[in-house]
Point group: C2
Chain length 224, copies 2
């Protein structure tokens, strides 16, 4: 369902030119939970942005369900991002003037979709955010903001969930609750999940582990 062929991405030019991804060719199957691991600065977030249609590659191809993503026009790419992909960014990117509940509902609001109140209530309690749903991001702790970002990625029940360090700011108990929620959602709604993590415990739960160093894939193992 997700495939890259000789994917390259470089940033800047001259003195600050950086080759973030070098000929990355991977494929992730429908319904799989894939973990992406690697040192800081190795290209993990860059890869996730390419898979999610957030940033254009320098060269190479990205296929999602057989569609060559970067041949789509801006409009279709935006629709793909909104309807097919739930993204948890490494730094959340919550909208500061919207409450926790509004941030979570945003993908649905943008598409004039009806909000399934029951599902949203379920998400709020699984994320332990019921008593913070009317708070703005600036009125939430770091971990609470991270959980709002996860809620927003799940709200639309997207086919693909891309999560960049979804438990980086969470304690052990919250971390395992979040991973349980992601795996539960993936099984219940037949989704495909890609998670960047530094946490060995989380990587060990994945069906596939992709290791990246200095922009290149150094291993891609199916674990189960």
């Amino acid at each position: 369902v997700l495939q890259t062929i000789d994917l390259c991405k470089s940033y800047g030019s001259g003195e600050t030119k950086v080759e973030a991804l070098k000929n990355v060719s991977i494929s992730i199957n429908q319904g799989e939970f894939a973990a992406v691991i690697g040192p800081s600065g190795s290209g993990k977030s860059t890869l996730l942005h390419m898979l999610g249609g957030v940033d254009r590659p320098s060269s190479g191809k990205v296929f999602v369900d057989g569609v060559d993503l970067y041949t789509l026009n801006e409009n279709d790419l935006a629709l793909f991002r909104r309807r097919k992909v739930g993204f948890v960014f490494q730094f959340y990117n919550l909208i500061p003037v919207l409450t926790a509940l509004e941030n979570i509902s945003l993908p649905l609001l943008l598409d004039n979709k009806k909000i399934e109140q029951e599902y949203l209530d379920e998400l709020l309690s699984l994320l332990d955010l019921h008593d913070r749903s009317h708070h703005l991001p600036s009125e939430l702790s770091g971990g609470q903001q991270q959980r709002v970002a996860i809620g927003r990625a799940l709200a639309y029940k997207p086919a693909i969930i891309l999560a960049d360090e979804p438990t980086g700011n969470l304690d052990r108990k919250n971390s395992s609750e979040i991973i349980k929620l992601l795996r539960f959602s993936v099984q219940k709604y037949q989704q495909t999940l890609v998670v960047i993590t530094h946490d060995q415990g989380i990587a060990s739960l994945a069906d596939r582990v992709i290791a990246i160093e200095d922009g290149a894939v150094v291993s891609n193992e199916v674990t189960k």
Copy 2:
């Protein structure tokens, strides 16, 4: 050197009123490495903001080297923050239009202080940022931005270092390098270090571990 007496902090009013800290009385000695642990939303960042003069308490006292911090006027409080405290915020708060090197030098630039080139070079290599020193925050990975934030906190060789999850976005290798650097700096320059962390490994290195739940201190143990 750091002491709080019946420290309380509440946010908001009416429906969203939250008591983030409830009568917190702790003391941390000169040269100590104290770890603060607790679940997400328990009040850790709030406590660190009170210790660092970043946000005023609702009631109670904070003493730093015998000075009653919140009796100082705004000017003196700002000087205290700039000269005495190195702060690593949970979300970095780097200045987007300044390069990595400029962000690190900022506390010195603000005070018209001469920059010790040798010390800065040492910091850049210990933080593995030499080849990223001219990048803007938006041209850095998550972990690289975190390391810039740590460099900025150390640049002034402040008496007190307050770090909020300084390794949350770092892999195992980078995390242990950072903690090694912080402990090395604390010993070399006789500093006092307070670190919020979810990482048991880091907490086990501390001289003192303070556990917080729901705004209250539940334990405060000297481990060495």
